[in-house]
């Protein structure tokens, strides 16, 4: 019964989202404010209905209700409870339901947010959001209904794909979707501005918190996916330039550019048309990502949904939204008033450079991902575009981008002074050079790129720290004399300054982690109990091999003791091969031993007659920095969000203050 009510609630959401989409537009024509105000309760109602619908499906999964097709296909009574819950979105239908749930959640948040968004802009934004929700709910109801019943109900389900029965993958989709779908709000704001024909700093300010939320979650989602691939796929790589990974990287790159261009727009009233275009492109790339994953058009390790009819529907959605929004852009953008000027050497100039390189990188990933498909359909020539291509093209674009980062923070708005900025960044450059050279000398004969990368990472981290220090210290007469005064002032700096510094330091930390992989070592061998394998500074000894039983799998486990080359005990690692009888699938469970931020990574290979096992042992120095740095980046986004400008009702107060103190400039941040 609950399932049917859930299904009904989804249909109700379809109707309500249509109301949400149509009423504000109608109101705009008739000028009826009451009609326009319908958008808010409609958005809340849509969210409530989808939430109920999602709850019903979750209940079916949690209670293993095998009368529901979706539960049969993805659950099993012996499956651990956590994965019964994550199984809700571990399949196509459920993940689409999660997608629209987040879509409606963002709509509801915009409807109730008490910030100073002009009512017309808010209503139009809700209308666009309503239209997106309507189309996706229609997609679910017509092609991907998760509430299908089966009679008679079987006693047991087919279980979830074992690769997905993992904590990392349990939380990866929700994080990623909040990111993807979060950009729908900036998209809706952009379309609303185009419809309205008006765009200004108020718009930029209204959009910024949503961009920050989406970006932070997308960062976490990508990092989580990368960490999952690292430990679950069993060969220790953390980024494969897989189409599905690229699908999440593209909106991230565009979203990062958007995050920076809205700052320029808010502060300098420039880059308006470009910002609107970016907002459209970012969400378009999110939709493209959904299309790539959901349609299985570019099959890859991650694609667990392959169904052409759905693909065609999503393609239609893609054409409707991307084509429609770009047409609207082409028609209306020339009417938007061009914004202010900017000098090349200034903070906005650096941010323009940021946008230039991010956009070029995004275009490269885009073309690289879709080129084989396009070429094959046009000329029937088959080529592969793999990691080497992306490494050759992406990295040369990333390095100059990273080099500008500290300059962007240091340069002043309007008219910056490169010389002064360089002086202030002298410490960062000096430290970077010293670190790079020291590491190079220490690891002489090793890879050349790694010390360069370490230097670059150090430059970014120190540059971010120096930015906080020098701003807290102040200049000229107001220069703080004591350490205590600097500390006090540092704490008093705007949260957005801290957020920026943290996010940029996070990028530096990621770069450090990536660079250090140049020193990663790998060993493979066949070992019997009592024998050892050495990789880098660590030695793994096979203690024994034995069977182990989990809730829904059988495992053959290798128990290893890790020692350093001097023979001191470091820890133990277990790696196994799991067999899931319900799916008849084998999965390798890698064993990880974390030492500081480095890891020893063991992966069990084949069993050899005579009691020996194939063993693969990696030493991954500083590898955790890759994901910890991402977390720091997302944390930077979160700290920026707590800035008083972003807080509910804050802009109004800030404006009053500005009025009270005529002539004072907003602090550069």
């Amino acid at each position: 019964m609950l399932i049917e009510v859930g299904h009904f609630a989804l249909a109700l959401a379809l109707a309500l989202s249509l109301v949400q989409a149509v009423m504000p537009v109608w109101a705009a024509r008739s000028g009826d404010a009451a009609l326009r105000a319908v958008a808010t309760p409609a958005a809340l109602g849509t969210f409530a209905c989808i939430l109920f619908s999602f709850g019903a499906l979750t209940y079916a999964h949690a209670t293993s209700d095998f009368s529901v097709q979706n539960v049969i296909e993805n659950s099993h009574t012996a499956k651990p409870f956590l994965y019964k819950l994550s199984g809700v979105w571990g399949n196509h239908e459920g993940s689409m339901l999660l997608w629209v749930l987040i879509l409606a959640l963002f709509g509801a948040l915009v409807a109730v947010a008490r910030n100073s968004v002009p009512p017309v802009l808010r209503a139009n934004t809700l209308a666009v959001q309503g239209l997106i929700t309507f189309v996706f709910v229609l997609f679910i109801i017509t092609t991907s209904n998760p509430f299908m019943r089966v009679s008679p109900a079987p006693v047991e389900g087919n279980d979830l794909n074992p690769l997905l029965q993992d904590f990392g993958l349990a939380i990866h989709p929700p994080l990623l979707y909040v990111g993807y779908v979060g950009f729908s709000i900036t998209f809706a704001f952009a379309i609303a501005a185009l419809i309205d024909g008006r765009i200004d700093a108020v718009w930029a300010r209204a959009v910024r918190p949503w961009t920050l939320i989406a970006w932070s979650f997308l960062t976490l989602g990508i990092a989580m996916g990368s960490y999952w691939a690292y430990y679950e796929l069993g060969w220790g790589g953390w980024w494969f330039w897989d189409p599905v990974e690229n699908a999440s990287l593209m909106p991230w790159l565009a979203g990062t550019a958007l995050l920076h261009s809205t700052v320029v727009m808010e502060k300098r009233d420039a880059l308006k048309v470009w910002t609107v275009l970016l907002a459209i492109l970012t969400f378009s790339l999110s939709l493209l990502g959904t299309f790539i994953v959901r349609s299985g058009v570019l099959t890859s390790v991650h694609s667990f949904a392959t169904d052409p009819t759905r693909g065609v529907f999503i393609l239609a959605i893609l054409i409707l939204f991307i084509g429609g929004s770009l047409s609207l852009f082409a028609w209306r953008a020339p009417m938007l008033r061009q914004g202010g000027l900017f000098a090349p050497i200034s903070r906005e100039g650096a941010l323009v450079m940021n946008n230039l390189f991010l956009a070029a990188a995004c275009a490269t990933v885009f073309v690289g991902t879709l080129y084989p498909l396009l070429l094959e359909s046009l000329t029937s020539e088959k080529i592969s575009v793999g990691p080497p291509f992306f490494n050759y093209t992406f990295i040369p674009l990333a390095i100059p981008l990273l080099l500008i980062v500290p300059f962007g923070q240091t340069l002043a708005w309007k008219r910056g002074d490169v010389h002064a900025a360089s002086q202030r960044l002298f410490a960062a450059m000096g430290v970077a050079l010293a670190v790079g050279l020291a590491v190079l000398a220490w690891t002489w004969g090793g890879p050349m790129m790694a010390p360069i990368g370490i230097g670059l990472g150090a430059y970014l981290v120190v540059g971010s720290a120096m930015e906080i220090v020098s701003r807290a210290r102040g200049y000229g007469n107001s220069r703080a004399r004591t350490v205590g005064a600097v500390m006090r002032r540092a704490l008093g700096l705007p949260r957005s300054a801290w957020g920026t510094a943290l996010a940029h330091a996070g990028v530096g930390i990621v770069v450090l982690g990536i660079a250090a992989q140049g020193w990663a070592t790998e060993a493979l061998g066949t070992v019997k109990p009592g024998e050892s394998l050495t990789s880098g500074p660590y030695v793994a000894t096979l203690d024994r091999v034995g069977p182990r039983t989990g809730e829904n799998y059988e495992e053959t486990t290798a128990f290893l003791t890790i020692r350093n080359t001097a023979g001191d005990f470091i820890g133990t690692v277990e790696t196994g091969k799991r067999f899931y009888p319900s799916r008849k699938m084998n999965v390798t469970e890698s064993g990880l031993l974390t030492i500081g931020v480095s890891q020893v990574y063991a992966s069990l290979g084949e069993m050899v007659p005579g009691g020996a096992i194939g063993l693969r042992l990696y030493y991954k120095p500083l590898v955790l920095l890759i994901w910890l740095g991402s977390v720091v980046m997302a944390l930077g986004g979160a700290v920026s969000l707590t800035d008083r400008r972003m807080r509910v009702g804050a802009p109004a107060r800030a404006k009053e203050k500005a009025k009270a103190l005529p002539g004072t400039m907003a602090p550069a941040e």
Binding site: V301, A360, E381, P387, T393, L397, G518, T526, L533, A612
Partner: protein
């Protein structure tokens, strides 16, 4: 930025006893005794696509076909081929699809030029923007000049 990952650097290889059946990426029994040659083999393998897999190199893949290709690569290396010749040999047998780094040719020109074109387009756009603004700033129509003249006269 995973260039650091690309050159399979310090590949500490230990070949112990026994030979295994098949599968799971590079097997101990495939490893060449000559460490230098093996490092080259790994490097070449990581640039060759496993044809039956989804976006995996033969170095990462545990498919039997990938193993066959790995063995071919090692055989060619043992026969004294240089890296280029090994690659050409594999491409000759399996086609261009096997290369994870597409060749630079007419049909891939657009692909390889994308980063430069994107940058160029951006720079061109910025240049146009600055030009247009400069135009706006410097050139006033005669009517506007007259208007300003009139206004300033009235102020005085």
């Amino acid at each position: 930025m995973s260039a650091a990952r690309l050159p399979r650097v310090v590949v500490a290889l230990m070949l112990l006893a026994g030979s295994s059946g098949t599968v799971l990426a590079v097997q101990p029994d495939e490893v060449l005794p000559d460490a230098k040659l093996e490092a080259r083999a790994r490097d070449i393998s990581s640039g060759l696509r496993c044809l039956v897999c989804q976006n995996q190199s033969i170095d990462d893949s545990d498919a039997p076909l990938a193993r066959d290709l790995r063995l071919i690569v090692r055989e060619r290396l043992k026969a004294g081929d240089d890296d280029r010749q090994v690659q050409d040999y594999v491409v000759g047998r399996y086609g261009e699809y096997v290369l994870l780094r597409p060749v630079l040719a007419l049909h891939t020109l657009l692909l390889w030029l994308t980063p430069l074109m994107a940058l160029g387009l951006g720079i061109f756009g910025l240049w146009r923007l600055s030009r247009r603004r400069a135009d706006h700033e410097t050139k006033l129509s005669p009517a506007e000049e007259a208007e300003i003249a009139a206004l300033t006269r009235r102020d005085r």
